[in-house]
Amino acid sequence: MNCIKCNMPLENVYICPHCGHVDKVAKKIIYSSNWHYNQGLAKAKVRDLSGAVTSLSQSLKYNKRNTDARNLLGLIYYQMGEIVAALSEWVISVHFQERNNIAADYIQAIQNNPAKLKAANKVIQKYNLALNYVQENNADLAIIELKRVVNMSPTYIRAYQLLGLLYMQRKQYAAARKVLMRAVKVDRNNMTTLRYLKEVNHLHGKQEKNQHGRKDEFMQINDPNPIVIEEGSGHNYADYNTGFLSFINILIGIVIGAAVIWLLIVPSITKTKASEYNQAVVEYSAQISERNKNIDDLQNQITDLQSKLSQYESTVGNTVDDAGASEQKLIEAVGSYLQNNVQDAGTLIAEIEPAAITNAQEKKIYNILKEATKSSVTETLYANAKDSFDKKDYVAAIDGMTKVLRMDDSYSYAVFYMGRSYQMLGDTGNAAGYYKRLIQSYPNSDMVDDARKYLDQLGDTTSIDPVDISGGSTSDSNDNSEDNSSDNSDDDLGDNTDNGSLDNGDGSEE
């Protein structure tokens, strides 16, 4: 527009800088533009961004060179997430006023931060992608993309509006209302947002009324896709389906799974292992016990064998010793007898254990000498033994009476005193055996009554058999035993020295 006086151009002024003419039309235009700018500024201050955009656009329609209005419009576009629109306004603003224009600083700030510019472009791309999903009737993917968009750019009004509309279409009114309320916080008088919000309130109220029979507006319902609006410094939008929450849920699931395994499966495995271990221990213990038992058995066998061996060796040694001693005594007896020393010969014969003589010739000699000397030595041996008994030397008495019986096994007095000596030594078995032998073999003896009396004193002796006293004769001397049943009733118990009444073994009385 040029001055009507001097035809000089009037750019953003109504007073001609050349001639000073005041152009009334230009003045009205500039005033109108400024008035709308002031309206837009006032609306922007109360976050009526849509109203501010309308007023500022109106201001620029009056005066396209109103730099302040254009710069503010760019800022408001930037605030609403419309980066390209903001850049456009600032570029045009710089075009009209190259100097002293803050829009150049805005452009410079954006150009100096390419990462932010790239992020803003990515937000736009995601929004466009979501819009494509909507056109392809793929609302689920569109919602996912729009959630990302509003997270990245929390003031992107169009994204909020589209997201709210999609929620409304899916009858998720609570979520739609939250999204739209967020948009209202950014832009209070956005007509589209308010219209959607009113619709949500209407539909939500209906739904509440249908469900609860009363009209409670905006009561929280069980939203299948709940939304959390973060009120932190970033003013980011988020809901429970974000990647971080998914990661947390997976982590919690892993922890719970590990706990279940630890509490249920591990004890079972441990118990099984313990059971197997115990079973193995029992089996090994049984094997060890069996081995120990076998070892004990073998040790016992070794001990028995050693005992038997030692016993055998002892027996053999004793037998050899006895045999040697008996043979020596037999030789000495033969010598004494040949020297007519019958008493000594008989005494030596009496000392010989008949069983120790194994040689047949020696047995024969033994029997000959025994027959030849017994009449001479029996009474003497008896007297000596009786003397030992009287002196209470019962061991010597038993030894002496044994010699007597070797020489004459029918000597009933010797049998009696054998029983008495054993009784005095406390050997009830041998005592009873000799008493019973006396009673059985010599019923007519004077000692029978006494034997019965002493036998009764011994108590119950029914299980004891009479002692065999025929051992004094060797197997080839049958003639020694043929008179065992001879009657010794004439023996005088009170006079041991009286040998006239004694049976000498061959049935004759001396």
């Binding site: 396209k64 419309e82 390209v84 466009n128 819009l131």
Partner: protein, 52 residues
């Protein structure tokens, strides 16, 4: 009651950064002053035609 299909159609894709130059060129920068100048030119032309 809003028509969701119609409302969804109202949403247009946003311009990306590399489309900014195109947006600037397409911007309608005519203001009231330009309109007045055009009107005055038309008036002048009309008056010039009457003189001839």
């Amino acid at each position: 009651m809003i028509n969701f299909e119609e409302e969804l159609k109202k949403f247009k894709p946003s311009l990306e950064i590399d489309q900014a130059e195109e947006a600037i060129y397409k911007n309608d920068l005519r203001d009231v002053t330009d309109i007045l100048e055009d009107m005055m030119k038309e008036v002048k032309i009309a008056s010039g035609n009457k003189r001839f």
